[in-house]
């Protein structure tokens, strides 16, 4: 069973076609207005989007690009419905970065098959974190190793939330999850605004994130991330705690004690071309740096200035 969004003029929207999709257990929302559909898709994304080419004001291209550029939605499969003529003449697939294509004249059986395939394929490649929808460990490893192999002059930045465990104990898991989502959103948006597709953001798990950006962007990105975090974190703390400047919770030994308000630490490992050859070396440097940055009070980033490994 999957949640499908179908944005077409009227294609695949006959009653028997609707019944077929429903019989397969799919929950389908039908839309004709691209603009309205998009708003729903962005605020409550389906598992798969089927969109017809050539809808009003050529918004279809705009919408597809917007979804595929969104780090958290890029993996949602999109099937483009085209005319027989489009298939005959071919399309510019760089402009339409969709996952699959189907003729508007196709049978409902073919549509069903394509839906199943798209969903299965999306499932295979996804190691995304369910909470933030960001790429998980194997994608992170691959991305960093690629960057090292290509000798791109990037910096790898390890992010974690200070005193997250006691925060969770005091405020509960669901608010803890919100804080993690908040950090994920901030990272994605800042990295995207500074470096576009030159940056990468992944979620290791729990309160640990990794991103890498061109070396000269590392510092401004870290600064913006920390500023944004500091602007938002008060929304996730009780007013009494903000006023006091600390909160009370239990430490790992089970003792009640005071903790400084939640902050963010970033360990920055610049990887000048040739400095590191393997992901593990970067991680080892990061582990040492993390101790230093964690010892500082409040939200901070710390850049590894040593040359050579």
């Amino acid at each position: 069973m999957a949640r499908l969004a179908l944005v077409t003029s009227n294609t695949f929207n006959r009653q028997d076609e609707r019944l077929c999709l429903e019989a397969k257990g799919h929950l389908v929302s039908y839309k004709q207005d691209v603009a309205r559909a998009l708003e729903t898709i962005l605020s409550d994304p389906p598992d798969l989007l089927i969109i017809e080419k050539g809808l009003e004001r050529n918004l279809d291209r705009e919408v597809i690009a917007a979804l595929k550029n969104n780090l958290q939605l890029a993996l949602m499969p999109i099937i483009l419905v085209v005319s027989e003529r489009d298939i005959a003449t071919g399309l510019d697939w760089d402009a339409y970065s969709v996952d699959d294509v189907i003729s508007s004249q196709a049978t409902i059986e073919e549509l069903l098959t394509r839906i199943e395939l798209s969903l299965a394929r999306a499932h295979r490649v996804a190691d995304n974190n369910p909470l933030t929808k960001l790429p998980g460990n194997s994608s992170i490893l691959k991305s960093i190793q690629n960057m090292l192999d290509e000798q791109a002059d990037h910096a790898v930045c390890y992010v974690d939330i200070d005193n997250f465990k006691p925060y969770n104990d005091k405020y509960g898991f669901s608010r803890g999850d919100e804080v993690i989502r908040m950090v994920g959103r901030i990272l994605v948006n800042v990295v995207q605004e500074h470096c576009g597709s030159n940056g990468f953001v992944g979620h290791v798990g729990g309160d640990d994130f990794v991103f890498h950006v061109p070396n000269n962007e590392a510092e401004p990105v870290c600064q913006d991330v920390i500023n944004n975090f500091n602007a938002l974190i008060p929304l996730f703390l009780d007013e009494d705690d903000i006023e006091a400047g600390y909160f009370t919770s239990t430490d790992r030994q089970g003792n009640e004690r005071r903790f400084p308000l939640t902050s963010l630490s970033i360990a920055v490992v610049p990887c000048e071309p040739g400095k590191y050859s393997h992901y593990g070396q970067v991680a080892a440097t990061a582990a040492k740096l993390k101790k230093k940055v964690k010892a500082l009070e409040g939200s901070n980033y710390f850049i590894d200035r040593r040359s050579g490994y």
Partner: protein
Amino acid sequence: MDKAEIRKRLNDIQSLPTLPPIVSKLNEMVADEEITAVKLGKVIEKDQVLTSKLLKMVNSSFFGFPQRISTVSNAIVLLGFNVIKTLIVTSSIFEVMQASDVGLFEHSLGCATACGIIAKLRQIKNPEEVSTAGLIHDLGKIVIRSELPDEYEAIVEEAEEKGLYMRQVEKERIGFGHGEIGGILARQWNLPERLVFPIEYHHKPEQAPDFKEIAAIVHFSDILIRALGFGSGGDPWVPALDHAAWERIKLTKSQMKEVIAELDEKLMELQDFTLEIKLDG
């Protein structure tokens, strides 16, 4: 039309239209390579429809901050440039822009400005939140205008003819006042209660279950801005001041002077922007 029918209509609302010139201004800005999300935010936070749309999205289940985010600047940090851009490109507009639409736009903007000034004066921690409440306090009027256009026209006419407030005629004709309608929609959109209550109770702030101070500031700013004649709220009558609410936020004479002076200055600054909107319309 009965109340159940209205509730159903509200439930079906996907998006609300706004003024065409604002959307085209934003579309132009988006085309500029150097534009940032923060700059877009400065325009979005002047328009109640776009602001509420942004807040609806960031408080939605997908973004996962239910009832948490109450200001445009915070929403922007979480939504990011691409989402905001898409929202702008696909936003719907009034097919025909009426003078009353611009009037309501100016009234909302003026009310937001007054709210911000008073909130700062009262040293409220997040004054931007209070101005947001002021900006979207009349969201219910937009709903009636766009979803029930015939009723809207009849309501405005009847209010003027019989010398009644809009909300009195609204209640009589459709069962809800615009405050309640705005409140229902804001709640449906998962907006924080710090915004929902001031919207719902801006004509009776002391009855708000919580956030009475914000509701009282919105209530007073609404009256102040109408008395100053900036924009228009639909009917020509300045609402009566709730005395208990006034007691709650009471400003001294010299504070009042301060507020008026600052408001005058800020409204002058805003006039460039509103004029641009009017001329493009």
